[in-house]
């Protein structure tokens, strides 16, 4: 894992969440630290059997959050004009 220098912030319902981008063995994960008392969320991009990409929580169990936060992270990298 790298030291996590690739940090940025995203706007979530409870305020600004800190996002750390890490690389583990060449695979990118994002660790999200929320302003409220919500446990940090780790998420990554994955591939469905039909080859579609999706966001997933690591470990399993927080899929809805992963999809919502993943969408915000994607917007950070590809801001709407």
């Amino acid at each position: 894992m790298n030291p996590g220098n690739d940090n940025f912030e995203i706007e979530v319902a409870s305020g600004k969440a800190k996002v750390q981008r890490h690389s583990i063995s060449g695979q990118v994960i994002f660790r999200v630290i929320f302003p409220a008392k919500i446990p940090p969320l780790v998420l990554a991009r994955a591939t469905r059997e039909n080859s579609n990409r999706f966001w997933t929580s690591i470990p399993e169990g927080r899929q809805l959050e992963a999809e919502e936060i993943g969408r915000l992270i994607a917007e950070h990298f590809n801001p709407k004009p």
């Binding site: 894992m1 060449g26 695979q27 994960i29 994955a46 469905r48 992963a66």
Partner: protein, 269 residues
Amino acid sequence: MCFYNGQKVTHAEFIRLKQLEKKVANFDFLIHQLQIGFDYGLNAVLKPNDEKNDFDIVQMEWGFIPSYLRTREDVLKMRNGYKDDTGKFHPPITTLNAVCEELLKPGKIYKDAALRRRCLVLSTGFYEWRHIYPLNKRTGLPLKTANKIPYFITLKDRGYFFMAGIWQGWTDRSTGEFVESFAIVTTKANKLMEQVHNSKKRMPAILNEDFAYEWMFSDLDEKRILEIAATQYPSEEMDACTIAKDFRSALEPAKPFEYEDIPALELNI
């Protein structure tokens, strides 16, 4: 068919995500490189749970400890060799590797583990020695003593990979110490490894993700165990580079090191 977070994914994707899961959970453990050296130290091993639907990344001792050994002293005697009461020397027995062709032979210490306790050994690369015999300047014939050149072998485009392993729990009868130990399954060398490990012409059984999944989770018959154990990873998907002879004590053991007058490996194979 596999599901991760309710999403239908392939076996390969499932195992990648589960592995990522373990890595995230074991942050401190996984900041270290997972190279495979040649000692009896601890290594990262993927061990299936009892239901064979998930796995843990655990640390196991490399060097399979047979159940008939009673104490750690017996283990050291086996590994280092010893003189018995009559002064007769018993040579060391190495259990770092399990030869795939002999895994299931009757009486072999690995048989029960191969049938019931298969695991995957995580690696980012491994070391092997190439024996090069310099020519005698006077006669032009090869010298009897080889110049041993260490190599670090990796897979192209893969930061880590799985080697087939077998494991066993063992308890020291005198202290109660419990350890899990493993051996790496070896197979015949492919064209690249025939050149690098040219003294023994063997290599670890490196498994692709589908084979890795099957090796760890499926109920396999003996024929299939031997088939997977004999897997020869393709040469063209592997890399080998020379490293310093003192790599074991180096800060960066896998750092490439150039030697003069070393015949190049034939990579166009």
